[in-house]
Symmetry: C2
Subunit: 559 residues, 2 copies
């Protein structure tokens, strides 16, 4: 807006929200806070925020002066969570370049596709990951430099045509301060590709502004609310949505970081919790499942962990209860690569803590923070009320929510219609309800929901109800075409040995014990030997839908 | 910056940071949180955030449709802290207009100057303040409408030429929602004039962006860190730097507000703390001094108040200790109208709470939050180190720090050289030191500091040391011209009856007991009957400097 002649202009300073400001703040005001990296040695490695700040400046000098990184070039990292990765997190965006974190768990061909798509010319890699990187290098066309940190067999790179640098040699002797440029806060700062089950991976490009605002949100008392008295065990990988924003957020408030590097197995995690006494931890449920089993087998003192943030997928109630008993209070959060990721966080509302209602609130995905707006869109595109019952696809808007995907250097961003609404909101692909007091409960993925006569039936709800039957080992529910209703649910069940359950008794069980509404009860049933799974162990419903379409399933129709 | 051809564009949504978003968030997600306003009746008045949201929409409709408020017109408030003032706080900026809070404690002629300078066409006034407003009205040229809220004698406005409206009648029947416009976040949202001791009052114009970011900062765990479990007693007036940003910050996280309206005397404050049990309070030291005396005379249960934010001027150590004993933990903060106001906050660093060092940290002005950068500038314009010893004028930069003053509608903002550095930082006019770990200690006002041979001597330090002598009732130290050193300190002392102290013994006391460096000891001494005071009770050093210049003081020179 251009001001009118009599307009009242704000007289505030125009100071952009930059990652370099977070770095400078953390390394001066909180210079004594620490990044502790677990090692295979007796003692973990400790580095102060002041040292991180000095070394980030050295890294920026090396990237610019020795490797010629200019403008908004992408610099990739292939690394675990450790101090050097934190240095890269701050150095690369602060100098104006773009940090591209590579997900080391992706299939090699996807990794190669991503490096080529982002046009990464430099990769900073942990030595321990060279066995993954070395065979990939011939397929990484734009890569000219590999900078290696930490232990690992360098001889693996012997035949590579790229230039190989030792990180410590590269930064040694460089100036420990850098005149960070004043950038536009909307400039790209970091990028992360998300790989769906179909199509090419999609790049999300975070701006300085989005990361800065997200960091402030993470630090709000109503969110994670950590202070410099805290130590956060950052298990969620730095190559996964910026480790949920924790490296940036912690530098903003001096929260100490405990970094597990490659030691993500339950035993070392339990050991580092006992010896380093973090007050907070963040990870996906599978990590906590493993840790719980380890702690049951080999008890440790984990009482320091007052707050455990769980995201990525829903935390099973049994796991939440088990951690509560150990004094580790789980707080659910929901987000995705496209949401930076803090989308909701499940702190119970005022007055509920300590009451019977509390646990139900903690099992929801939580409330939107002030910077995130949410709405539910029904099967016909209509807006649904926040009544805790109307199920729709969740759409979100906010300054740290993606509005498009990266389409390669110089190309216009991609805005596929199934991912972004016409008015710019992100379609999350998650289906659920929102209660009158703003608590989100996700019930299904949009692609798995059954669209029956203009209403939605949650496949997950039906599956959970079925799997609570004592005779059912596994169950998957998928949508199949129906002449009258458009789609109807098909129940595929894996029965336990010796089961005497019939489809009729299972259906009655759903209605009586599962409290499933009558119109949602499946008519089509089949028994299968096992539910097909994806490479990461999720139900692969595509396979079931295809088997049904090709007539490969023996389906019984009930009344 | 215009993107290059191969530039990586951020793919984040471009969502402006607007006050209407804070309002919508608070009145939906935190719709059951409450604004409680103290009254002279048996019960305080309670209004939910949802009701505030609905009524703010009604007020915006009334202002636009009935009073014709358009664009960025200023709408003034002359009001205590109460629910209607909160409604105005949100309605006016959300609709795109500018909230102008009038300081009801200013001399009438200054108030009139300010209303005319801001070109306020509408004033929303509390009925209880009509005795102040009515006689002013003939001098308020631009004012066409007065909207009256709450109890008060309307007949006082009988002869006024403006149109008078009842607030409740005006908003009654209006729609309870409003299609808030998408504004530029840098647009003016609110303004507040600061009145120095010299010159005209100066307007600071806050933007939507600055208020939004400041609110996030206030809510960070490292700052005030409140949640929806909290209730904040907002004693600091809404006409004083947006009540330190609390109405905006509380709507962002659902913190309940307890508003004292006009009942700011110690007895009702003690009563409302006991009955409403706020967990947080914010006010200047004089309010707490009065409350402490009241609690000593009439003990009340004030144990709910776990956190008390004190700003505006330094909190005397004795007051901090007295409140500690009552279980009310004082947290020092520093700021000014130009800093929104959160500039520093005195949370001790990690590991210090519970140790002997803690109290010393709490007496400092505190540390800068991530959004505020600070630097010290010495007498010759040089940057001074953070060593806890080098004293300089504090300069600050940040997205909620003023970079200029308002100069009337349509005019370019004012950037006086004594208030803003060439590179745009705010010169605070405060002199102090910053420790290596970032804690600010203010020692003097820049205009009162003694510039002696390229070094600064704090007048306040000398005064405090002098006043700790048992024979000294009061003491003021001012700079006087000196041929050799430029300036030297003149000590003016008020001796207690029967004192036998000589200037020589006082000077020796300063060196021995006061630990004042030898080169800082005053040579010039005089006894006065009383230190001249300003209308608000502060030492009026202008008068002393003039008396010295005119030879009216009987000055003795030592050695």
């Amino acid at each position: 807006m251009s001001p009118r002649e009599d307009a009242v202009l704000s007289t505030m300073q125009d100071v952009p929200l930059l990652i370099s400001r977070i770095l400078t703040h953390g390394s001066t005001i909180h210079g004594t806070s620490q990044v502790t990296t677990w090692t295979s040695e007796d003692e973990p490695h400790r580095r102060s925020f002041a040292e991180i700040g000095a070394r980030a400046a050295q890294l920026a000098h090396a990237l610019r002066e020795d490797l010629g990184v200019t403008g908004d070039e992408r610099v990739a990292t292939l690394a675990w969570n450790n101090a050097e990765h934190v240095e890269a997190y701050f150095a690369i965006p602060s100098m104006g370049a773009v940090l591209h974190t590579l997900n080391l768990r992706l299939p090699p061909e996807q990794l190669a596709w991503i490096v080529n798509h982002a046009a990464d010319r430099v990769i900073i890699a942990n030595g321990s990951l060279l066995p993954l990187l070395a065979p990939l290098l011939p397929h990484l066309k734009p890569v000219e430099h590999v900078v290696v940190t930490g232990p690992g067999d360098r001889s693996l790179l012997a035949g590579a045509t790229v230039r190989v640098h030792e990180y410590e040699d590269l930064i040694a002797g460089k100036p420990t301060s850098y005149d960070w440029p004043e950038l536009d806060e909307r400039q790209a700062a970091a990028m992360c590709y998300t790989s769906g089950t179909t199509g090419d991976p999609k790049g999300v490009v975070y701006s300085h502004r989005s990361i800065y605002l997200h960091s402030m949100q993470v630090n709000m008392a109503q969110s994670m609310g950590l202070t410099d008295e805290d130590t956060s065990l950052v298990v969620v990988p730095q190559f996964h949505v910026n480790a949920w924003g924790l490296p940036h957020a912690t530098f903003m408030t001096g929260v100490n970081m405990l970094m597990p590097d490659r030691f993500l197995q339950p035993a070392p995690l339990a050991a580092m919790i006992e010896s380093e006494r973090p007050t907070h931890a963040a990870a996906v449920p599978t990590i906590w499942q493993g840790l719980l089993a380890e702690l049951t087998a080999n008890p440790r003192d984990v009482s320091s962990l007052g707050q455990v943030t769980i995201g990525g997928s829903a935390c099973p109630p049994s796991l939440m209860e088990a951690f509560d008993k150990l004094g580790m209070r789980v707080c659910h959060a929901w987000g995705m690569t496209e949401t930076s990721p803090l989308g909701t966080i499940a702190r119970p509302p005022a007055g509920v803590v300590g009451t019977e209602e509390e646990f139900a609130y903690r099992l929801t995905q939580g409330r939107f923070p002030a910077g995130v707006e949410g709405r539910l869109t029904g099967p016909g595109g209509e807006r649904l009320p926040w009544d805790g019952e109307s199920a729709g696809e969740l759409e979100v808007r906010g300054p740290w929510i993606a509005g498009a995907y990266y389409n390669g250097p110089g190309a216009e961003p991609l805005r596929p219609a199934d991912k972004f609404s016409e008015d710019g909101w992100l379609k999350t692909g998650d289906v659920g309800t929102i209660s009158a007091d703003g608590y989100l409960t996700l019930t299904d993925r949009a692609k798995d929901v059954i669209k029956s006569g203009g209403e939605w039936i949650s496949s997950v709800e039906l599956e959970n109800a079925l799997m609570s039957h004592p005779d059912v080992a596994e169950a998957a529910v998928v949508a199949v075409p129906d002449d009258k209703w458009g789609e109807r649910p098909l129940a595929t069940v894996v029965l336990k040995e010796g089961s005497t359950a019939t489809f009729e008794t299972l259906r009655a069980f759903l209605a009586d014990e599962g409290h499933i509404a009558k119109w949602q009860l499946p008519e089509r049933w089949t028994v299968i030997a096992a539910v097909p799974k994806t490479s990461v162990g999720k139900f692969d419903k595509k396979v079931l839908r295809r088997q049904y379409a090709q007539g490969e399933l023996d389906v019984t129709s009930l009344g």
